[in-house]
Amino acid sequence: MLAWGGGGRAQEPASLVGRRAPEFSLESLQHTRMDLAQDRGKVVLLNFWATWCGPCKVEMPRFMEWQKQYGARGLQVIGVSIDDSAAPARAFVEKLDLNYPVVMGNAKLGEQYGGVLGVPVTFLIDRAGMVRARFDGEEHLAAEERQMRGLLGHPGH
């Protein structure tokens, strides 16, 4: 997990950890309304990505596996595309046959989440709606799964 360290104008990402996850309500590319408040009671894995981002494409099949494996235990994966337009993101979602919703991001949402100035960025949000972790980059899949299982209360953790 990475944290920015300096005094730049953007809010330091780590500061969001331990705070309530900013809520949003957006229509997904799969034509469902995604309202974060309605996922209260679930563990949410919120992943910012882009179609042209190689590291993001490494992660997404794993997120699909996790949604399938842990969905019944209360996991909800949500993707946020930072592509400039919906068309390539929608085509990618359809190509992968993603089993979790994807919404189109915007600058306001990025700022609310402490600044998304690179991808991938992944947040773990607990059942009470609190941000528990932020991961920058794709090298953290093992840590993400471990912490996500902990939040789910998976047997063995």
Binding site: G7, G8, R9, P13, W52, G54, G115, G118
Partner: protein, 155 residues
Amino acid sequence: MKVGRSLGCLMVVALAAAAAGGAALGQAATTIPKDALVQPEALHRELQANPHAALILQVGSRMMFDQDHIPGAEYAGAGSRPEGLQALRMRVGGLPRSKAIVLYCGCCPWDKCPNVAPAWQLLHGMGFTQVRVLYIAQNFGTDWVARGYSAERTQ
């Protein structure tokens, strides 16, 4: 039917190549010559001395740009997308080929950035002689904003 479909595919490829203007989509940032790179600290100092030293173009993501960008920079479209390169071509088309230009992205670690190399190649191919690329090791947040270098959001 098959012939028609094949011709259609060829036309799509040809249009994409035309939009790219010869730039190779998918090229890694590591293919950019080292002498064309500028380090963040050096650019920061340059801009402190002269904010208008160069035309600065972000070629990554509009969402990233709108959150934070180098003051005075313009968003020129994603360099990894044909439509992004077309927008870049339109932006610089009327400029003198000696114009100082700095390209940057910062979406991903340098060796995984898909945007800067096609953009650099496009401008290089168009004959621009003073094009540099900002070397961003991790991402724009870590290597520019968090270092306290000037940044602004889109109003």
